[in-house]
């Protein structure tokens, strides 16, 4: 006894979730803002996402990558803040967007000023030494560092980078001390290790892969919660006996401020669907990322925890924080 009105009502109820998501649809090309130039980490990921969107037909429009380098992420963040209310602009943030406002007074836009959308990936790392080094485990290295305080050296990025954070946490928890030498580029850091000029480094598993295969590097431990698929025999920091928090390198999505709630939900939904697609799963597996998907609400909480912890770590490291 389906009368037309009840059919319509049924139809409407069935369509309700769809129509909710369809309340907003991007009307023009979507801009995905990254803070690096072409070829930088975020740029590569953003372009991969754009390709996935095309392949899996996830959007009715194109997604294009907009490079806004400069200011250690501050320029990109400020650009997003300027685009208040624009529903077709998104930003791909990384830990740098969270850290720069902590140490640089000039960087005025924090993630709190933008609209969180989703957290996408966590990037684990491994701790590596040169293959002919005398340390077979991380404990051996720490022992050696304790015996010769300040003489062993680690190559890494800036003093606020994850490389140094890991070092600070380990130093605090074990009482050992070793030097940290900053190099601006990944290539130089690896060259410093392979050339024997430094003793240890924290490196992305993908970058280390080939050097390990060729027998030039050895991995002592992994900086992650669970063991990575490609490194089944390497202990995590916790398993190796070091009770330090795993401070991840994150990548996620934010939107300009002043976005209506339905837009946020559209994008959140979109990225959730993206992370379920086979191309995304393959991409993460190939690059040895961890699926760190979090919704907008969880991202907000994560942001607060992360910055609080970073503040503490930086203070311990003797770096002045301005916020």
């Amino acid at each position: 006894m389906k009368s037309p009105s009840s059919l319509i009502a049924l139809f409407a109820v069935l369509c309700a979730p769809l129509s909710f998501a369809e309340g907003f649809k991007p009307a023009r090309t979507v801009d995905l803002v990254v803070h690096t130039g072409p070829g930088g980490g975020s740029d590569v990921l953003a372009r991969a996402i754009a390709i996935m969107v095309e392949k899996e037909k996830l959007l009715p429009v194109r997604l294009q990558v907009i490079n806004k380098p400069g200011g250690n992420g501050a320029v990109a963040a400020a650009h997003l803040a300027e685009k208040r209310g624009d529903p077709n602009t998104l930003g791909l943030f990384t830990g740098v967007w969270l850290q720069t406002p902590l140490v640089s007074a000039e960087a005025k836009v924090t993630l709190r000023d933008l609209t969180p959308v989703a957290r996408l990936v966590l990037e684990p790392a491994v701790i590596a030494v040169k293959a002919d080094a005398p340390y077979k485990t991380l404990a051996e290295f720490i022992e050696a560092a304790k015996k010769n305080p300040g003489q062993l050296k680690q190559s890494g990025g800036s003093n606020t980078s994850r490389d140094n954070v890991v070092r600070q946490l380990l130093q605090k928890s074990t009482g050992a001390r070793w030097a940290f030498i900053s190099f601006p580029g990944g290539g130089e850091r690896i060259a410093a290790l392979l050339g024997g000029h430094v003793d240890i480094m924290v490196i992305e598993p993908e970058e280390a892969g080939e050097h390990i295969r060729a027998g030039n590097m050895r991995v002592l431990a992994q900086v992650s919660e669970k063991r990575l698929a490609k490194f089944p025999e390497v202990p995590t920091l916790k398993e190796a006996g070091f009770d330090v928090p795993v401070v991840p390198q994150v990548r996620g999505v934010v939107a300009p401020p002043g976005i209506p709630k339905e837009n946020v939900e559209f994008w959140q939904d979109f990225f959730r669907r993206l992370t379920r697609t086979p191309s995304w799963q393959k991409y993460i597996a190939d690059n040895q990322f961890e699926d760190g998907y979090q919704s907008a609400a969880e991202l907000e909480k994560f942001y607060d925890e992360f910055t609080d912890r970073m503040r503490e770590i930086l203070k311990d490291a003797g770096v002045k924080t301005v916020r």
Binding site: G70, N72, F180, G185, H211
Partner: protein, 502 residues
């Protein structure tokens, strides 16, 4: 023997019609990209990456590499014709190249740039093919003390760029060091000289300063005179549009110089084409019989740096393909591209993918030939640009400068910086301060400070690390010697005067 076999296989791959086509597309695109200031290979390669997925990897890497070294050919064009450096590696070419154009020798300048690029580019590929593994190993022994010594040597060359007043040249170089410090200190996170501007947190882009101080300043200086002079005498007749036999003879050493220095510096992960071209120019000036004329339009002053920045591409591919270590922005993207296609450059790359490696090497020989054939006939065409009346050409130069700067980062702030440095460059010209040392200081400043601090961290504060290691000790001694050259000249003059009086 293996090398020969590998190379023959490589040619078999590179000469496939599809790959030849992609090679041509790559070098053509690279030339165009190089001609335009600001727009560089990294951005172009990144934009083309999605298209390469439907291609076979050999064709793709051949094309992308073609863009990389093709751009080095095109970069000299605006440097010579307009004093606008096409990219940071072409800054040194402006010094003598533009002066040659002012004297009516734009054709030979452009021509020798193409020829030197061809010779050195080919030598670079030869180096990649023959000595890549040992060079890579040598490059690994280079670390911060050696980089500091290398940069000191480069900076010491400022005395050779001095012109009349050494004091002013040194002041310009020191100002360059200062500009290089603007931004966030890598080691401590402290913001230096940012005047509260967030855009300055990542420092001032080298290209912005170079275009401002060279191109903009040049236009402003020329605006002073209202007389309707033809901007630059246009060479007439084919004979004057290409380098003469005498020119080629003068450049004999420059070809060798550029090829070797470019390749070696390129192979260092911390090196780059800017340092390579400065060092090569400095060396050429030091050994040339007409060294006083450098800076006024000497052809070997164009050949040396142009050669260096081309063989540098061959050198930069050495750490990338043998160790998986990218040395510069463009090689970082090439690395990302290779990874995206499923190849992982590293120590096992060549043994596991010989067809790809040798195909690439062979294509680079072919590409260099293509570029020579492409660029030489373009020389007379480009030289005609100078036929334009001044009132069309100068706005054009201004427009190209602004677009070039804007295309680097898309920021209006950079345009403001361009204005500021244009004014600075103009004032420097009026007050007789040479601008090359400023650019030199800027190019080397950041790297030098980093290398010094890294060295002291490695040695736990002992400066002796700089002289206890053989390579850095040698280079530092050379640097000191170079600094003392003008002293010898003055001492000699003094001694002669004393003899005359006594």
């Amino acid at each position: 023997m293996e090398i020969l076999a590998g190379l023959l296989n490589g040619f078999a791959v590179a000469l496939e019609p599809a790959n030849l086509f992609w090679c041509f597309v790559g070098v053509l695109l690279g030339t165009v990209v190089g001609i335009l200031p600001g727009l560089g290979p990294p951005a172009t390669i990144a934009m083309l990456l999605p298209l390469t997925f439907s291609m076979n990897p050999a064709g793709a890497i051949i094309m992308l590499a073609g863009i990389y070294y093709g751009a080095k050919y095109g970069g000299s064009t605006t440097s010579i014709l307009m004093n606008v450096p096409g990219e940071s590696a072409s800054v040194v070419t402006c010094l003598d190249g533009y002066q040659m154009a002012r004297k009516g020798r734009a054709g030979p300048a452009l021509g020798i740039a193409a020829i030197a690029s061809f010779v050195a580019g080919t030598v670079g590929v030869l180096g990649l093919m023959l000595v890549a593994p040992p060079i890579a190993k040598f490059a690994l022994s280079f670390s911060s003390p050696e980089y500091f010594a290398l940069m000191s040597l480069g900076l010491a060359l400022v005395v050779l760029l001095a012109g009349r007043s050494i004091v002013k040249a040194l002041l310009a170089a020191l100002a360059g060091l200062w500009i290089a410090s603007v931004g966030t200190d890598l080691f401590s996170g402290t913001s230096r000289f940012t005047f509260g501007q967030m855009e300055l947190l990542s420092g001032i882009d080298f290209v912005v300063v170079a275009i401002g101080v060279f191109a903009l300043a040049e236009v402003l200086v020329n605006m002073e005179a209202r007389e309707e002079t033809q901007l630059l005498p246009v060479p007439k007749g084919l004979k004057n549009l290409l380098p003469t036999m005498q020119d080629l003879k003068d450049c004999r050493f420059a070809f060798v110089n550029g090829s070797v220095i470019g390749f070696l510096v390129g192979a260092l992960p911390g090196g780059g084409s800017t340092i390579a071209s400065f060092l090569s120019y400095g060396l050429e000036k030091a050994v040339s019989p007409r060294r006083e004329q450098f800076g006024t339009g000497v052809i070997e002053g164009v050949a040396a740096p142009e050669g260096a920045n081309n063989s540098e591409t061959g050198g930069a591919l050495v750490p990338l393909l043998t160790l998986g270590i990218p040395g510069s922005g463009t090689t970082a993207i090439l690395l990302a591209a290779l990874v995206l296609w499923g190849f992982k450059p590293g120590p096992l790359f060549i043994p596991e993918h010989p067809a790809l490696f040798w195909g690439l090497v062979a294509s680079m020989y072919i590409g260099n030939v293509m570029l020579l054939i492409l660029n030489l006939p373009l020389v007379p065409l480009f030289a005609q640009v100078l036929r334009m009346p001044v009132y069309v050409l100068y706005p054009l130069i201004l427009g190209v400068s602004m677009v070039g700067v804007y295309s680097v980062s898309g920021s209006l702030f950079d345009l403001l910086l361009l204005m500021a440095f244009g004014l600075l460059g103009y004032l420097m010209r009026k007050l007789d301060y040479p601008s090359a040392p400023l650019i030199l200081g800027l190019a080397l400043g950041a790297g030098m400070e980093r290398a010094l601090r890294q060295s002291l961290m490695m040695s736990e504060g002992k400066l002796s690390i700089l002289v206890s290691r053989p390579i850095s000790a040698v280079m530092l001694s050379l640097a000191v010697l170079v600094l003392l050259i003008p002293m010898f000249g003055k001492l000699n003059a003094w001694r002669l005067r004393a003899l005359e009086q006594g």
